[in-house]
């Protein structure tokens, strides 16, 4: 590991100033991803700016009826918060589906959003990887890619974003707030992650040096009945091979409102807008749910070893929507 300077920031502008425009400096939150990547040599920062003592550790009700979640709120505190549990249950479920109790106590909202892919070539510095070393190639395409992308990938990179939390946030129209030396800014979660194109090393639309200060959730009444379901290779403590965040409001036998996002299928959480358009207004039946899944997955371009994900996501979507519909009927 390279030697580095360590600074602890106590206020937001101080943190932004400490980082400055130094391309070699990184914010340190829970460290659960950054410290790991520093050990493997993927990240080699010359300075860390510790943000955990910033006053960004609160969850507050917003005047519009939404919630403001500070960037340093731990994953555990987010999942346990009564307003999150009652108004956005899919978010609590998504966070609890990720990592372990120990890691969720350390991991923060900001760090979770910016965690890097678990593609094995990305984390192995002896291998080429366009995302880590632009232009070096992508061994995953012809190599190990059973958990890689089926949607929105490119010739240069087929990695998936590993976050569970971000999938629920995508379905909930979350907005990411940040601060730079030039002032404050915001990005809808949908626009936080850049399309892969031929620049997979450019992962987010955040300006250089931006500190994420929080995530705002608008009021989403449909989310009161919502669910996150994750499929993985063991029952707990593993990354997703496919996941669905869904909310459903059924009135008079038809879908009045719906939210749907997929995880572990693309380089970013995948908001399934095509499926949502198919759902809204249609009869609340299994046929509709299957048609919605098929419409979204029509764009899937699986690789030789991950075609199973298309079937998995189809069946998972139908199952979760059917469960929500059954619950509504009770």
């Amino acid at each position: 590991m390279r030697e580095f300077d360590y600074r602890r920031a106590s206020d937001v502008s101080g943190a932004v100033a400490l980082l400055g425009d130094d391309p070699d400096a990184r914010y340190l939150a829970g460290g659960t991803n950054l410290v790991d990547l520093m050990k493997s040599g993927v990240e080699r920062p010359g300075r860390l700016v510790d943000v955990r003592e910033l006053p960004l550790d609160r969850i507050e009700s917003a005047p519009d009826g939404g919630l403001r979640i500070g960037a340093t709120v731990t994953n555990s505190d987010l999942a346990a918060h009564p307003d999150v549990r009652s108004r956005y249950p899919m978010l609590t479920q998504a966070v609890l589906a990720g990592a372990s109790g120990q890691l969720r106590n350390m991991a923060t909202v900001g760090g979770n959003l910016l965690q890097r892919t678990r593609c094995a070539y990305f984390t192995d510095t002896t291998k080429p990887c366009n995302r880590r070393a632009p232009g070096s190639g992508c061994p995953a395409r012809s190599g190990e890619h059973h958990n890689h992308a089926i949607l929105g990938a490119s010739e240069t990179c087929v990695a998936v974003h590993p976050s569970d939390m971000a999938v629920a946030l995508a379905a909930l129209d979350a907005v990411v707030h940040y601060e730079t030396a030039d002032g404050q800014g915001e990005l809808p979660l949908d626009q936080l992650y850049l399309p892969v194109a031929d620049t997979p090393h450019r992962e987010t639309a955040l300006p250089t040096g931006a500190l994420i200060t929080g995530v705002f959730l608008p009021p989403v009444p449909v989310a009161a009945r919502s669910r996150y379901r994750k499929v993985r290779e063991r029952a707990s403590y593993a990354f997703a091979i496919g996941s669905v965040a869904a909310a459903l409001d059924i009135r008079d036998g038809a879908v009045h409102d719906a939210r749907l996002a997929f995880g572990a299928v693309a380089s970013r959480p995948w908001r399934a807008r095509t499926a949502e358009r198919t759902l809204i207004g249609a009869p609340a039946t299994a046929e509709t749910y299957a048609a919605a899944a098929a419409a979204e997955l029509a764009a899937a371009r699986p690789l030789p070893h991950n075609g199973y994900k298309v079937t998995l996501m189809h069946n998972l979507t139908v199952a979760v929507l059917s469960e929500l519909a059954e619950e509504a009927a009770l």
Binding site: E3, D5, I59, P89, Q93, A99, S100, L103
Partner: protein
């Protein structure tokens, strides 16, 4: 800006203060084991994947291998060496002994620290991925074996002593419920 790659820090561990110079690259785990001779905390994977290095930080269970020692300055750290009350074992320790919650014992300090933190989380009403309905109106989740397995899934046991680990944690939870002694400090709710 001046560049410092090491610092003199003071760690608060098991109620004692330890002042030591550290290279910033030192993890809390390596500081405990290599610098402070607190070798009860074990190193398994060194990548956050096994839970052998679990310690309590400000009452919350965490993994020591992904924390930098310099970042742990100012926090209250409790390791396996600090969970007993003098000669009286912590109820979770006692339950692991009574029910053989181990074989080789390598994962045990991490399992015990994790269980102590987990019981406090459960007592504070935190749901888990095994809790069906997470809405507060659904009420607190009983600590079933399924809940224990899910909540303890961050601790791997290569001897696969899981059956008795789950029994030991369940026994300790009963002990908590029936005697005030050993009830972990309640955790605060997230800022509401």
């Amino acid at each position: 800006m001046g560049l410092a790659t090491s610092s003199v820090i003071t760690l608060h561990i098991n109620g004692e203060k330890h002042t030591l110079p550290v290279d910033h690259r030192t993890t809390l785990l390596d500081a405990l084991r290599e610098r402070l001779d607190l070798t009860g905390t074990k190193k398994g994977c060194d990548q956050g994947q096994c839970g052998a290095c679990t310690v309590l930080v400000d009452g919350h269970r965490t993994v020591a291998c992904l924390q930098l020692a310099v970042a742990a300055e100012g926090r209250e750290i409790t390791t396996i060496e600090g969970v007993a009350d003098g000669d009286r074992l912590h109820p979770v320790q006692q339950a692991f002994i009574d029910l053989d919650g181990y074989q080789c014992g390598y994962c045990t300090p991490g399992q015990i620290c994790s269980a102590i933190g987990m019981l406090a989380e459960h007592a504070a009403g935190w749901p888990s991925a095994a809790s069906g309905d997470v809405r507060p109106a659904a009420g607190p989740t009983p600590l079933t074996p399924e809940e224990i397995r899910e909540r303890m899934s961050g601790n791997l046991c290569r001897c696969s002593a899981y059956t008795s680990i789950v029994e030991a944690v369940a026994r300790a939870a009963e002990a908590d419920a029936s005697s005030a002694a050993g009830v972990p400090e309640p955790l605060g709710e997230a800022a509401a």
